[in-house]
Amino acid sequence: MTLDEKLQALRTATQSLEPSAALQAKLAATVDAGTLASTGAAATGAQAALPATVKVLFVTLVLGVVGTAFYALNRASFSPWQWAGAAQLMADAGTALSSRQCPAPTYVSGGKPIPEARVLAPWPGYAPEERETLKALRHELKSRPFTCTAQQTPLEQLLRMHVLSDAKETRILTRLAYLCPGAARPFLDTARWNSPRACDNSDWCHYPSCSSLEEESCAQRWAELPAESCGGQEGRQRLSLHLCNRLLRADIEEAAVRSATPDAWCLKADVLTELAKLREETQRSHHVQTDAGVVPARVPRGGPRDEK
């Protein structure tokens, strides 16, 4: 056979390739999700009818509040060179805000609000490549013409565009969910949910700072999650709950499970603050007191994680 004949044969064979019904269903589900979002886009259009002066005032007000909070939160702990970086971050945030003309969501760390820009700021302990990823994300957030929708903030839209499969990005995802489970929830639900990996295996259990006990517990939960419910509400809740538990480590996992309801699968900011205290106590005691009672403390391999 000549090369052309072989290519012709391959062309013919290719025509017989069809995606599986399961894949087609998943793709259709993706489009359905997109249709929901387009409804949000329509709402944004109505928002655009507001007078320009109101928008300017609103943006100014938001920037003022965010700036003040940022200053108050960080005055004590920032060195001069960090201030320079922070100023750049705030400038980035300002540009992003003014271009999209909508309020930034409230992210919370340790019970305190922090500006959106700090969500993408390098955190102590991040590796150089993680810092590079964050830098690229910040740049993209600033340069892309994101529009606010009812369902998604620009930051969430940006992150949803990225397939967060690498470990370094998983760390960032974790950071987001830790900061504000409520704000990160749509992102967690959709971005990861669209990946078959979310249903097919327990990759997420191999988290860098998880103890072997945690990984075991995680894998067990994955095994319990029925594949057919993966796209359903029950599966979502269970997965989301599972993710939250992962973030908060084994010493508080039981409490989270017990207190979980469909509307409160993630822990609120004030609870996070309490949990941070509990983690400290874990080092001193073998038992911790939670709102769900006394649960055994399991000190993770390598000591407790502190991402604050």
């Binding site: 090369l3 062309r11 390739l17 894949l23 993706t30 489009v31 409804t39 259009g45 839209q157 565009m161």
Partner: protein, 179 residues
């Protein structure tokens, strides 16, 4: 003035309707996109994985208005999927499994004769060893039948560059089969 204000929600709704139309059109092209991913990756299962990720990304991009109609929607979708597949191929782990994939992907068509099946296997294996850009150009042009202009749009190269890639790819394949 009042008429103009009344029109604003309608325009928003129109945009939403356009978006829904684009998304439906994108969905209709899923089989072609799958075939493209399968040929670029040489593995059906991996193609499904990549297509799912790329499709979700494409829908997100459509939603934020990243597609501005510079090229036809299928061409733009081909670009998104091609980039996703090439990204996947760049992974060192995947590269190690290239030969395995070629083995798997060659026997897809049950209707081919044993001789043709062998030839197909050889060709798929040879394709998997081509440089990524040559492979993408050849698959888009010869397997998917896209005109050179569209291949250039998908790969974001000039038509001249595409012609060069095609010539080199064919030369490599011929040399391989002759030897």
């Amino acid at each position: 003035m009042k008429d103009a204000e009344r029109l604003k929600p309608s325009l928003s709704q129109l945009r939403a309707a356009d978006l829904a139309h684009l998304e439906r059109e994108a969905l209709a092209h899923a089989p072609q996109l799958y075939r493209l991913a399968a040929r670029l990756l040489g593995n059906a299962a991996e193609a499904e994985d990549v297509l799912q990720e790329a499709f979700a990304k494409a829908i997100s991009l459509l939603r934020i208005g990243a597609y501005r109609g510079e090229c036809a929607l299928p061409t733009w979708l081909y670009r998104v999927v091609t980039n996703a597949a090439l990204d996947r191929l760049r992974s060192a782990k995947r590269a190690q499994a290239a030969h395995q994939r070629a083995e798997n992907a060659a026997t897809e068509s049950a209707s081919t004769s044993p001789e043709a099946a062998v030839a197909l296997r050889e060709l798929v294996e040879a394709l998997s060893e081509l440089p990524e850009d040559q492979r993408a150009a050849l698959v888009l042009k010869e397997i998917h039948g896209l005109p050179a202009r569209e291949v250039a749009q998908v790969l974001e190269r000039s038509e001249g560059a595409i012609e060069q890639l095609l010539v080199r790819a064919r030369q490599t394949l011929r040399r391989r089969f002759e030897s």
